[in-house]
């Protein structure tokens, strides 16, 4: 207050007298000297710190005089017309401006700050909800979790064309590198560098190729290691069969290429034969060679063998022009047993074959031109086939029967696909047409099938051609009759298959349409899904999640007395129930009445008695049953079954009754010895009578003996409570019933079922979750 007063005075003074500055200062000093109290100077902050002491704040009223006010600055603004607007605004704000309210008390302010901060923390933590939930319900967690920081391959290293494994490959690579075309291409590439996407695509492609090659290598390695001759034999056969099949297809599609391919095959065959067989390297030949020193015969045989091999590998000049002039080395028909040289083809044969093939080719082209006409004329087809097959028989084939079979197989396969297509078409048009038109369509299909099936019989042209001679393994005439039969059979089979396929397809289509509807609705749902929906995710694999206290000896405190009491209680309740039931039901005499009708149980176990006769009618079954009953009654005609049964039951009842406990011991005051009856009174005293047992469950069921003690051993193993994640007994039972052992289910399924839900890598440090998990990775579309 005093300071304020002073200020006031000083202000007044300065207003009144403006001239004497010096005097004024002096006066002030004098006055301040008069005031004995020490003045507190405002402290200065010398270094920046976060904490500002309340003592450092001062009103600084002394320096008010020298302070620069906003209004002073604004004055200069009004000098210019252009700044008038700003000045006016400033004035307005100054008018509106109010002094700030008193700051909140510190605790209250802190509370607000904490609340805001907590909201932020909450928000931040909630980001982790989906990740945490996903990990919680996941059935397959592998720790350490996959982090985004993968080992980055050097792109150049990765992109470099991979080094060939063999010397040859490396040489080829070198040659290719030097070739001008490649270099030119490279230059072009340098001119137009790849975009990121292209790079990625290329990298992927390369990776794929590398992977595929490695797979192939591994497979080849594996197959090479197999020692079984049988396997290799099978493999070889399979390979040949495949080649033949391919060839057949090629023949149909592109006869010219097929011709070339044929030549190639021949060459391969010849090469193979020249290289491996009929030399002196086989076991037999070696043995002969050993013997040859002393044995003339074996020498001869060996020589023959060598000669044969030479003959076989002899190149035949097949050119028709040159063949006239040159002498053909005719192999001797020395060993008639050898199938390889049984019949060699003469040039004429080759010519005829070629002509036949050319003829076929011409026909084929014709056919392709007039395909529709052939298809329309069904009746002419069989005749055609017969006509066509006969030249096929003339041509010497490698193995006509097998060839034919192959042919038909190829055709049937391709046709199956056709039928599938057509069946799809049928299904598309199903809504319009009823069932009868469908059948018609099917029939048509079948007809077309027969047509196309018979055509390729012409194609039995796997004989020699070109420069290499090949002779058949067996000479067998094609039995046209049997062929026709075979075709008929095949036709039936195919038609059946087609039917099946169509029906299958129908079945597939129907649920699919339903599913598509469902999935649509689901999608719609998922669109509206939010955090709450997320929480409804479920584990795919439901497993028991027991949360129980460990048994540390506390639960094993049951004593016998309490158990007995429980049992008695149970029995009482049972008996009361039974009584109430019994009173309501009319009593029946079991001796006079017996139900004999068979009761069918709904069991999942196979019924072994009626194993084979599923196809029988109901009436048949009834008859059979009657017969059985008759035979049974005949068999037991003399026995009194009912009486026997009731006796048996009585025995069972007696057996189950608890016996009284006799605690009497002969001794005190008794005579000892054999055959001495104890005193009646004593006997009574020492016998502990057991309580009357609860009524048996089969008491009023005449035709039944229920053994109540039977499953007491099993009861200890039976589940009494439904475990946690399961909501219905049915589900739980199903889960127990479904086997997981590889004894009962295939290995792959077994592996899947026993996979632990959490796996850790041995010796790997599992670091806490990283924030990278939250980052949504950009999907690279390629």
């Amino acid at each position: 207050m005093t300071v304020d007063a002073e200020d006031f005075d000083i202000n007044n003074y300065s207003d009144s007298d403006e001239g004497g500055e010096e005097e004024h200062k002096r006066l002030l000093n004098a006055i301040s000297k008069l005031d004995k109290r020490k003045k507190v100077l405002p402290s200065e902050r010398r270094e920046p710190s976060l904490q500002v002491s309340e003592f450092h704040l001062s009103k600084e009223t002394n320096s008010d005089a020298n302070a620069v006010h906003l209004r002073d600055l604004a004055k200069s603004l009004s000098l210019k017309a252009s700044n008038g607007e700003i000045a006016r605004k400033l004035k307005a704000t100054q008018k509106k401006a109010k002094t700030l309210p008193k700051p909140l008390e510190k605790p209250a302010a802190n509370k607000i700050r904490r609340e805001v901060a907590f909201e932020n923390v909450k928000e931040q933590l909630s980001q982790w909800d989906p990740v945490v939930l996903r990990n919680r319900i996941s059935d397959d967690l592998v720790f350490p979790l996959k982090s985004s920081k993968g080992t980055m391959l050097n792109p150049e290293e990765f992109l470099s064309p991979h080094q060939g494994a063999t010397e040859l490959e490396r040489q080829i690579a070198a040659v290719l590198n030097d070739s001008p075309s490649v270099q030119k291409e490279r230059e072009e590439k340098e001119e137009y560098p790849l975009s990121l996407e292209e790079m990625i695509q290329r990298r992927k492609e390369l990776a794929r190729i590398k992977a595929q090659e490695s797979y192939r290598q591994a497979k080849a390695h594996r197959q090479n290691k197999i020692k079984s001759k049988k396997y290799h034999r099978h493999a070889r056969r399979e390979k040949i069969r495949k080649q033949i099949k391919e060839f057949e297809e090629l023949q149909q599609k592109d006869p010219e290429a097929a011709l070339q391919r044929l030549e190639e095959i021949e060459r391969e065959r010849a090469l193979e034969r020249a290289s491996l067989r009929h030399r002196s390297t086989g076991q037999w030949a070696k043995n002969q060679a050993v013997r040859a020193k002393y044995d003339k015969e074996s020498r001869q045989v060996l020589a023959e063998q060598l000669k044969i091999s030479k003959d076989l590998t002899q190149k035949v000049q097949a050119d028709s022009e040159s063949s006239d002039d040159e002498q053909i080395v005719e192999p001797e028909v020395a060993v008639s047993d050898n199938p390889w040289i049984a019949q060699t083809k003469t040039e004429a044969d080759v010519d005829s074959f070629l002509s036949g093939y050319r003829k076929y080719w011409a026909e084929k082209s014709k056919e392709s031109q007039g395909n529709t006409t052939i298809e329309s004329s069904n009746s002419s087809a069989p005749g055609n086939t017969v006509a066509n097959t006969s030249p096929g028989a003339d041509i010497q084939c490698i193995d006509p029967k097998a060839q034919n079979l192959l042919d038909t197989a190829v055709v049937s396969y391709s046709e199956m696909q056709n039928t599938e297509d057509s069946s799809e078409k049928i299904n598309e048009s199903k809504t319009v047409s009823g069932s009868t038109p469908e059948k018609k369509n099917l029939n048509k299909n079948r007809e077309r099938l027969t047509l196309t099936k018979r055509k390729p019989v012409i194609n039995d042209v796997t004989a020699s051609c070109g420069k290499w001679e090949v002779s058949p393994l067996e000479t067998a005439k094609v039995n046209v009759r049997s062929l026709v039969d075979m075709f008929d059979d095949l036709q039936e089979k195919i038609s059946e298959k087609a039917k099946k396929k169509i029906s299958n397809f129908k079945e597939q289509v129907a649920p699919q349409s339903n599913q598509s509807k469902k999935s649509k609705s689901e999608k719609r749902k998922s669109k509206t899904a939010d955090a709450s929906n997320l929480l409804e995710m479920k584990r795919q694999k439901v497993q028991i999640d027991l949360d129980e206290k460990l048994d540390e000896g506390m639960s094993a405190n049951h004593d016998f007395a309490s158990e007995l009491a429980e049992k008695i209680q149970l029995a009482k309740s049972d008996s009361s129930e039974e009584k109430s039931q019994a009173s309501s039901a009319p009593e029946l005499d079991p001796n006079k009445f017996m139900k004999t009708g068979p009761i069918k149980l709904r069991t999942a176990l196979p019924d072994e008695v009626t194993g084979g006769d599923e196809a029988l009618d109901d009436s048949d079954v009834e008859e059979g049953e009657k017969e059985k009953q008759l035979t049974i009654s005949e068999a037991f005609a003399d026995d009194d079954v009912v009486a026997d049964f009731s006796r048996e039951k009585q025995e069972a009842i007696d057996k189950s009754k608890p016996e009284d406990i006799n605690l009497h011991l002969p001794g005190w005051g008794d005579w000892g010895g054999h055959n001495i009856k104890p005193n009646k009174r004593k006997r009574k005293r020492f016998i502990v009578e057991m309580p009357k047992p609860p009524p048996r469950r089969d008491e009023n069921k005449g035709n039944l003996i229920i053994n109540e003690n039977e499953d007491s051993a099993a009861r200890a193993h039976q589940v009494s409570e439904l475990p946690f994640p399961f909501t219905s007994v049915k589900d739980y039972e199903a889960s127990v019933r479904a086997p997981i052992s590889n004894t009962f289910i295939p290995e792959s399924a077994h592996r899947k079922l026993i996979k632990p839900s959490v796996r850790t890598k041995m010796g790997a440090i599992i670091s806490p979750m990283d924030k990278d998990v939250l980052v949504k990775r950009q999907q690279k579309k390629l």
């Binding site: 802190n110 700050r113 904490r114 901060a117 907590f118 923390v121 931040q124 933590l125 982790w128 945490v132 990990n135 919680r136 967690l141 720790f143 290691k225 197999i226 020692k227 079984s228 497993q543 028991i544 027991l546 949360d547 129980e548 206290k549 460990l550 048994d551 540390e552 000896g553 506390m554 176990l605 200890a716 193993h717 039976q718 589940v719 409570e721 739980y732 127990v736 019933r737 086997p739 997981i740 052992s741 590889n742 009962f744 295939p746 290995e747 077994h750 592996r751 026993i754 996979k755 632990p756 959490v758 850790t760 041995m762 010796g763 440090i765 599992i766 670091s767 806490p768 979750m769 990283d770």
Partner: protein, 451 residues
């Protein structure tokens, strides 16, 4: 005479090479295997018996400390390395596979209160009752610390922020430090009560939580003003650990008391969701004494707790009861527990100067397994879980032998619990309807939440 024998072609059942899959000539038709379930049940029963036979969790003992073990520190990059501090101020470095002490030095006067490695694993920070924070280099055999900070306040616990150069200490106040600075860069205080445990969140690295002596747990945010929320429990929280895989969950180990008024309370662990701390997510029972320390497994699925009742218990994070209890005759009051970073081992330090190494899964076979062996173990595990509810299997799987003092304490507590329940029931029976409401177990343990 013609003798008929059953002969089989070896091609049908022998493998061509060792790598081939076994050929199985088997019909999987379930109708042909009517006893599938019983056979599997028998296998499960055998498996669970064998599991209990093989359950030998104790691996070894690291002895050498001359006073009780006060703290353990796991090396962030080396699994075989462990540092431990004792009540006499000594720090020891251990080689776990060899079970030998590699280095030992006197670090502090009085207790070693806290030990922690820097995230790169090159330095060890230690903190003691002498109010110093010392930095020890791991590289060379130095007797002297590379750096010593004298603190103005008492220090009781410390925790390092993940992958930064900051760490936090607590005592009278909570202080945030940075490497290379000799003064705390931040000081947080809420109330006047001292703090005795502090722990950084490993995922959201700016969050930390501390246990105060006024029975409260305080949440801090280091980016902002500091304390964010406080929850007061019925009993003092001894220790706290954040789940390393679930950013918002942490578990608190609690003190116990008995016979106070009509209520009693046993040592419990509470799992909290940091966003809603009014009610714990889960209450983990089973300890019969105060729970002293808790540590999460690196997978975040389980945690281990050490108690004053001389047992170590392992809990599954979402379950209320322990799945395992470890004890030995010579193990005294637990002071610290720690779960190794490869999820395989548990280290426990106790009053009687020993550090014990346990297997995290008692019956697990250690070392590399052959694929077939692994498949067989997985299969047995699957069988056990499949039949877990069956009484015989449950009985064998969950049976544990406990020392007499625990057995007696449990019996006593059971009686107390029953008494309390009965009394409450009587009270409810004889008072106006709704006057004595049912309070779920989870809501019984938190007093209030401060904003």
């Amino acid at each position: 005479m013609k003798v008929k024998v059953i002969s089989r072609n070896p091609d049908e059942y022998l493998r061509e090479t060792k790598r081939d899959i076994h050929k199985v000539q088997r019909n999987y038709d379930p109708a042909l295997h009517p006893l599938e379930a019983p056979r599997e049940y028998a296998r499960a029963l055998n498996s669970v018996k064998l599991e209990r036979i093989f359950a030998k969790p104790f691996l070894g003992n690291l002895e050498g400390h001359r006073d009780g073990v006060s703290c353990l520190a796991k090396h962030p990059a080396t699994l075989s390395f462990l540092a431990s501090g004792a009540y006499d101020g000594e720090i020891k470095f251990w080689d776990l596979p060899q079970r030998v002490c590699k280095r030992s030095f006197q670090a502090h006067d009085g207790y070693v209160r806290g030990l922690t490695f820097t995230p790169n694993g090159e330095n060890l920070l230690s903190m003691g009752d002498d109010k110093t924070i010392k930095t020890w280099s791991m590289e060379e055999e130095q007797e002297e610390p590379t750096n010593t900070i004298l603190s103005k306040t008492v220090l009781i616990s410390m925790s390092h922020q993940r992958s930064t150069n900051r760490f936090v200490t607590c005592g009278e106040v909570c202080q945030l430090w940075e490497h290379g600075r000799n003064e705390p860069i931040r000081t947080y205080q809420w109330g006047l009560d001292s703090l005795h445990h502090v722990s950084f969140n490993q995922i959201e690295t700016h969050l930390l939580a501390a246990c105060a002596s006024d029975r409260s747990v305080i949440l801090y945010d280091t980016r902002d003003s500091g304390p964010v929320r406080k929850v007061v429990l019925k009993l003092k929280a001894n220790s706290l650990c954040w789940n390393p895989m679930e950013a918002f969950n942490f578990t608190v180990a609690n003190e116990d008391f008995k016979y106070v008024s009509k209520r009693f309370n046993i040592g419990c662990l509470y799992t909290f969701d940091a966003r809603q701390m009014r009610v714990p997510v889960n209450v983990h029972m089973d300890h019969v004494g105060a729970v002293v320390d808790v540590d999460y497994s690196p997978t975040g699925k389980e945690f281990v707790s050490g108690s004053y009742d001389k047992t170590v218990r392992i809990y599954e994070a979402h379950k209320g009861h322990s799945r395992e209890v470890y004890h030995t005759k010579r193990m005294q009051r637990l002071t610290v527990v720690s779960w190794s970073l490869d999820n395989k081992y548990i280290m426990s330090g106790s009053d009687e100067m020993n550090i014990r190494v346990w297997k995290a899964r008692a019956a697990e076979k250690l070392g590399a397994l052959k694929p077939r062996e692994k498949a067989a173990l997985n299969y047995h595990q699957a069988l056990r879980t499949k039949f877990a509810q069956h009484p015989q299997i449950k009985r064998i799987a969950r049976h544990r032998h406990v020392p007499k003092h625990i057995y007696n304490a449990q019996k006593e507590q059971q009686a107390m619990r029953e008494k309390a329940k009965r009394k409450e029931g009587n009270l409810r029976k004889h008072s106006k309807k709704g006057a004595v409401p049912f309070i779920p177990e989870r809501k019984k343990h938190v007093v209030r939440e401060h904003e």
